[in-house]
Amino acid sequence: MSLLEVKDLKTQFFTRDGVVRAVDGVSFQLDAGETLGIVGESGCGKSVTALSLMRLIPQPPGKITEGSIMFDGQDVLKMDDDDVRGIRGNNIAMIFQDPMTSLNPVLTISRQISEALELHLKMDRSEARRRTVELLELVGIPSAKKRLDDYPHQFSGGMRQRVMIAMALSCNPKLILADEPTTALDVTIQAQVLQILKDLAREFRTAFILITHDLGIVAGMTQRVHVMYAGRIVEKADTGELYANPKMPYTWGLLRSIPRLDEVRKEKLVPIEGLPPDLISPPPGCKFEPRCQYRKEICHEREPDLIPVPNAKPDHEARCWGTQRVPGGGWLVDLDWQSEIGDMAVLEQIKAEVAQVAAEAERATPGDLPPGVSQKEGI
């Protein structure tokens, strides 16, 4: 059984200007210990998806209008508020984008980590404090013991995000949602923080969903990737498969716009032309159609489904007429996508990272938990 199974999730915001269809029929599943990347441009519904999983959508104006979220065999959307609170922080934890504003400025670091330990694991204050030191050491905060009673403003951005990771890991959750955990940090710190997240999630055997707008980041981080656009998943694949064999013009666009550290690449960085559609009144057919250079008549008329693509691994799906062998479709199936993207050096580098993740996932065997961590029972 999957750890998480999301079916046809729809989350909408009822605003004065109309109904924003922020997440519009998203389905995916995740096994225990598995890692998944959700990638897409700003505003495509990544954060709303993650917040929906924990029922943290501000209501009003937001509302989850349809779908089911089966977590560990229970539908999160059907739970009462107490049960949802019992899951939050305990079974599903979240790391937010901006470590500057996501920590409470008037509470000490130790308080902010301990409160979840006291709540969910029923630790007393001194026990929770001791555990907090261990957690802070785990995420690599120097002289953790001395820094327990420091306040967030006394930490740098990268250190604060480590604190957030420690907080997310504190109750040994089964799933961590990391929503652009490094976007607010500078590049060198980004790499460190991602490495810590990856290592610890593996040690704790925690499944995680990494949300980012940068396809380059998920490469070395997750086993599978889902590409989102305008509130929908538009391409799903194993990470290796996605980089080796991307199918959708939108995914090609994302690959082309991966920022790299070296200067040459920076100059050639090609953002996708145009803007994502207005989610109040999106285009009638394919949501990417207004910006797609491969579009045909059919793209404007009807919206394609998310279905398996030919010439690919079986669980590789795309939402694009060009990849579907239906009447009037399929014109992208045999296209040489590599010549469409250009710059292969980047992709080679990414593929190396992907291979490494796959190897690491192979190696990770059950039973090698770090000291002091016990595998949690079902809910």
Binding site: M54, L56, R85, G86, I87, R88, G89, N90, A93, M94, F96, D98, T101, S102, L103, N104, P105, V106, L107, E115, A116, L119, H120, Y151, H153, M164, M167
Partner: protein, 307 residues
Amino acid sequence: MLTYVVRRVLLLFPTLFVVAVIVFALAHAAPGSPFDPNPDRPLPPQTVERLNRYYGVDRPLYEQFAMYMGNLVRLDLGRSLVQDRTVAQIIGQQFPVSAQLGLQALFLALAIALPLGVISALRQNSAIDHGGILLATLGTTVPSFVVAIFAIYLFGLNLGLVPLVGWGTPKHMILPTAILALGATAFLTRITRASMLEAIRQDYVRTARSKGLSEQTIVVWHVLRNAMIPVATIIGPATAALVTGSFIIEWFFAIPGIGREFVLSINRRDYPLIMGVYLLYALIIAVANLVVDIVYGLIDPRIRVSK
């Protein structure tokens, strides 16, 4: 922290000196003299001259200033030009009345405004919220003398529940305290509500929710303390404004406070009294700010001064 407090207390002295200079200059820049000829009660010229000499009003300004500062250092604020009391005596007798009235009003205002503001914010658009907004609007828009007239008429004349005017028994204090508290309550309710709403939509509240904390824990631990930071900074000036006495209320209810005395002293050009009360006010405001800064540091670690 302690050295910080000591340093701030020491800083009060230069502040007060500057205030003394300004007050002295302003009082003397105002045209006229306390012994200007009064058509109703003509004084013989020799008397005026003698009075001027006795009080030093005829001396050059710098001499008057030196004299004033010399006395000030010995805490001698001089004698009233009009009344047969020293300034220190007047302040000593009348400031406590205003201070008591002001502090009562402050506590009443806080007791109403803090819970009301918090609940209004937590239950937006509920009956309590609308009531709070109504009170806040009325309290800031309706002048206190209108409320005073209305209240005296209703509670004093019609219902006969409380004495009309005067000071001394608790019954005397009810109306003026309540009316004085009204403006402050309105103001503090607004600030409390606004800063609660501001705090509630911060990212760290979402983080707290993501940890599974109950709404109650979130409000008490994560929201309230942040929301109280702006409120705390307002309480200082509000206290200063309340304890320095309200002319209108003291005058309306015939309360022997310093607020009424001060306005009368300005009309009478009672220089020593004006200057004395001004200095008192400056001291109160400076102390209020000092207390706010210390409290601020206790609530908000970001500006806490080390050691």
